[in-house]
């Protein structure tokens, strides 16, 4: 394995949740590598552990055992503050339910990661506007999330994920709350991002969505069932 070229290397990671007396093995000894610039889909039935894996890669959660390397650096020894910084600068997260702050307008939502990243106000505004223009929301800057359509909300969420120019975009069921046509538009946006060199990792249980990726990891019961390499489209 070539560490420098791989954005993620997982070495035997497990994640165990303790719910009362019951121990739930969400991930069991999972190992894999993800190449820089790869377009990867993770598929599996609900409860298979794919979201858990996503959270661990997104630095929102830590593995119970095993190691995860981000760009060759082990991240399990990092502090909470350092993880927050990685979430801020290295990773853009897109959620199924958009997770925009309802009291803020689209522009303010997109500015949020830049705010925590310490980007000064004028540059923040310029960058947020630029990235919103890139996803086609330049006319919706001052709308609240509740005032725009689901597709537009997901575009705003993608804009937020891209605002701090991360190299990795993680998307957890990004089309799950959208109709087919809008979902297609969002997927085209991801395709475009991948063409520009971003590493895209998405979790889905829809075959059509996963078909956009160049590699699909199937997960079942917390373990990798098989990996499907697809021909470049």
């Amino acid at each position: 394995m070539n560490g420098a070229k791989q954005v993620f290397v997982a070495k035997g990671i497990s994640r165990i949740y303790t719910m009362g007396d019951v121990k739930v093995h969400a991930l069991r000894n999972v190992s894999f590598g993800i190449e820089t610039g790869e377009y990867l889909a993770i598929m599996g039935p609900s409860g298979s552990g794919k979201s858990t894996l996503m959270h661990i890669m997104g630095c929102l959660d830590r593995p119970s055992s095993g190691s995860l390397y981000l760009k060759g650096e082990p991240i399990d020894s990092l502090s909470d503050a350092e993880l927050a910084e990685i979430r801020n600068t290295e990773i853009g997260f897109v959620f199924q339910s958009f997770n925009l702050l309802p009291n803020m307008n689209i522009l303010e939502n997109v500015e949020l990661p830049l705010l925590y990243g310490g980007v000064p106000a004028p540059e923040r505004l310029a960058r947020a506007k630029q990235v919103l223009k890139a996803v086609g929301l330049q006319d919706r800057l001052h709308h609240r999330p509740s005032e725009i359509s689901g597709g537009q909300r997901q575009r705003a969420a993608i804009a937020r994920a891209l605002a701090n120019r991360p190299s990795i975009v993680l998307a957890d069921e990004p089309t799950g709350n959208l109709d087919t046509a809008t979902g297609k538009e969002i997927m085209e946006l991801f395709d475009e991002l991948n063409l520009r060199g971003n590493t895209i990792i998405l979790v889905t249980h829809e075959r059509e969505v996963a078909d956009h990726a160049s590699r699909i990891i199937y997960i079942k019961d917390g373990q990798i069932e098989y990996i499907e390499k697809r021909v470049e489209v």
Binding site: R87, L101, Y116
Partner: protein, 404 residues
């Protein structure tokens, strides 16, 4: 991220839920306002007392017979026997720190002038008394040594007595009748005192001054006086004068319980101790209101934190650190309590002003109380905000996002 940006976020969150913010603000407003009002009224009372004691004459010392235990509050005859006019001279010569000794005697009498009669206090005095209590005639003259020597039937009226008996008429030269006990006396008015007002417990304007000899010889037919008012040479030696007088009286009476020496200092101390205790008490009661307000903030903040779990999760997911979340929620709590403090300051000041105006109570707006109240409010915000803020900051991002 700088403070201004944190402030913006905090203000934004606060304005997003106006009613809730207003309610938690109200708790602090009431708390701070009551502290400000109570302390201002207490300090006002303290200042009034101090100025009244000052008005009694600057270096006043009084000597009076002590009450014998079990005597039903009456002065025993053997003690009263000592309190003579002559003792005044003896007291004066006992200490170099004494300027004047004025023996006094008091009784209640009915004063009559052309059909009007009023019940009033008659105070027998010597000429020194005016300097001792710092109270001088406005019209006419005061009691003279010759009046005292001859037990002259002359009187100086307090300003209220003059107004009640004579109205607009000039009393000087007129004659009034005094009924003291069973006896009637006709006295010539020689002067009217300047108004002095209510000082401590006694009204100096509702009195008639007569030569002390006239009162004890002709009126009460006794040889004894009620006590002595002593003026020390200066404020600095007042304590030394008190010591000398006490030593002298102990020599004469052989028992420190058979007389009482009170100086202005001891009165001032006693009274200001009482009023500052009152101020402290009022302030502490009001502080409880502030404390309750703080608990209100904590309560609201806890609700806010659990209600905004998802927001916290989102903020963390996009890169907010623990300290960012902590600062945001802490700042919200402090903003509420400082704004509440400032509003409470206005309300407290206005309320105190209204109360003092309508009730005639003195009111002193003290800067330390303001600083303490605002500072205390900020601390309340900090103290009661820190737990909810820590709770928010330590949330697990995955759980906060509402997964699983």
């Amino acid at each position: 991220m700088n403070l201004v940006e944190f402030m913006k976020i905090a203000l934004f969150s606060l304005s997003a839920n106006k009613l809730r913010t207003a309610l938690s603000l109200l708790g602090i407003v009431i708390g701070v306002a009551s502290v400000i009002t109570m302390v201002a009224l207490g300090t006002g009372a303290q200042e009034q007392v101090a100025s009244q004691i000052g008005a009694m004459g600057s270096n006043l010392i009084t000597v009076s017979p002590g009450f014998i235990r079990g005597g039903g509050g009456r002065v025993s005859q053997d003690v009263a026997d000592i309190f003579t006019l002559e003792l005044a001279t003896a007291i004066k010569s006992t200490s170099p720190f004494i300027k004047h000794v004025a023996p006094t005697s008091e009784t209640t009498a009915l004063a009559i002038y052309s059909g009007t009669n009023i019940r009033t206090r008659v105070v027998g005095i010597t000429p020194e008394y005016k300097e001792v209590i710092n109270h001088y005639p406005l019209v006419g003259r005061y009691i003279r040594d010759s009046d005292v020597d001859n037990s002259e039937k002359v009187a100086v009226l307090g300003s209220e007595v003059a107004l009640d008996l004579f109205g607009a008429e000039n009393p000087v030269g007129q004659k009034i009748r005094l009924i003291i006990g069973e006896r009637r006396h006709t006295l010539t008015i020689i002067g009217v005192m300047e108004p002095k007002g209510q000082v401590m417990m006694s009204n100096y304007d509702n009195r008639i001054y007569v030569p002390i000899t006239m009162l004890i010889n002709r009126g009460l037919t006794t040889r004894y006086v009620d006590g002595y008012s002593i003026e020390a040479v200066s404020k600095d030696v007042a304590k030394a004068a008190v010591k000398d007088v006490e030593a002298f009286m102990t020599r004469v009476l052989k028992d420190p319980d058979r007389f009482r020496v009170m100086s202005q200092d001891t009165i001032l101390e006693t009274v200001s101790q009482a009023t500052s205790t009152m101020t402290l008490l009022l302030g502490s009661v009001a502080s409880i209101a502030l404390l309750v307000g703080g608990i209100g903030i904590m309560n609201i903040m806890l609700v806010t934190v659990s209600e905004r779990t998802r927001e916290i999760g989102i903020r963390k997911a996009v890169g907010a650190k623990r300290k960012h979340i902590l600062a945001q929620f802490l700042l919200e709590a402090i903003l509420v309590s400082v704004c509440g403090g400032l509003l409470g300051l206005g309300v407290g000041w206005g309320g105190g002003y209204l109360i003092s105006n309508s009730m005639g109570w003195p009111f002193a707006f003290s800067l330390p109380a303001v600083v303490i109240a605002i500072g205390f409010a900020a601390c309340v915000g900090l103290f009661f905000g820190i737990y909810p803020a820590m709770k928010a900051a330590s949330m697990d991002p995955v759980e906060a996002l509402g997964y699983e």
